[in-house]
């Protein structure tokens, strides 16, 4: 009588090789939100980067749109376990926004219209890893998905890609954001399955 012995395989993995552990593929684009959807007219929209010395750098909608535009196609991974592959966006690289800003900060706190915030190491916003995006799949980014503009940091769980982003505070010390103060991981690497504190 044969006995099937699957052997030690480590953590259970999802079926597809390009999915991080514990994720499943969805063709949909689920809407997740911790509160009401803010209505932000482009006429009054602004994006502000503030430094640890109190310097502020502001962009109006038109000024942001005049910056070089990129069209990243990336996979996104939500901590609630859905992943969506090959999503196409348009926006401005954070490298372009951070270019010329003098800072000694190691950390960033993205904050949004509404009361959302999320923290990341500043290095994770550099080197072509993060964008301020205003277009999804060829259309204006819908408000329920964070329009008029959201952060896109696809190498981390999607709660780091703050919807309705209004600005980024550059900080010398790490300050946890909305979900990070309620049990979620400070960094949130989906490939290391860093969902909760201590993972």
């Amino acid at each position: 009588m044969g006995i099937v012995t699957p052997g030690f395989q480590g953590r259970p993995r999802s079926g597809a090789p390009n999915l991080p552990p514990g994720q499943y593929l969805t063709p949909d684009f689920p809407v997740l939100s911790a509160g009401p959807t803010p209505k932000v007219p482009r006429e009054t929209w602004e994006f502000v980067i503030s430094t640890e010395t109190g310097m502020e750098y502001r962009w109006s909608w038109d000024e942001m749109m005049a910056l070089p535009q990129e069209t990243p196609t990336v996979d996104i991974h939500c901590v609630t376990r859905w992943s969506k592959l090959g999503t196409t966006w348009q926006g401005v690289s954070l490298d372009a926004l951070l270019d010329g800003i003098d800072t000694a900060a190691d950390y960033a706190l993205a904050h949004s219209y509404g009361d959302y915030s999320t923290n990341l190491p500043l290095d994770d916003l550099r080197d072509g890893q993060a964008w301020l995006v205003h277009t999804y799949d060829g259309d204006d980014l819908p408000a329920e998905h964070g329009g008029p503009a959201r952060l896109l940091v696809p190498h981390l769980y999607f709660w780091k890609s703050a919807k309705w982003v209004r600005g980024i505070r550059l900080m010398v010390e790490d300050n946890p954001g909305f979900w990070e103060t309620a049990g979620y991981h400070d960094y949130g690497d989906p490939w290391r399955e860093q969902r909760y504190q201590g993972d």
Partner: protein
């Protein structure tokens, strides 16, 4: 602000029942932001999120957050100045 779908605080009975030994369906919470005291059942709960976010029905500020990991739960009550529970007379 436009409203996204949320449900009333009655849905918190099960998740909070894991944490509290008392029945929360008849509890009252006071919003730390605007001072309104509301039945827990009257809070606006955003559940399509990585955790549960219960907001004041008057000012929409966060009163309570609950995050459930497989082996742990986090309860953040910084948005509430109190929770009041009816108790049987001593």
């Amino acid at each position: 602000m436009t409203a996204l779908p949320y449900v009333d605080g009655n849905m918190l009975d099960g998740p909070l029942g894991e944490v509290f030994a008392v029945d929360l369906s008849t509890a009252t919470g006071r919003c730390a932001h605007c001072g309104t005291a509301s039945p827990v059942a009257g809070l606006r709960v955003y559940s399509h999120a990585p955790g549960l976010v219960a907001r004041c029905p008057v000012c929409t500020e966060v009163i309570l957050r609950l995050v459930r990991a497989p082996d742990r739960v986090w309860l953040d009550l910084r948005g509430a100045t109190f929770l009041q529970f009816p108790m049987p007379p001593e």
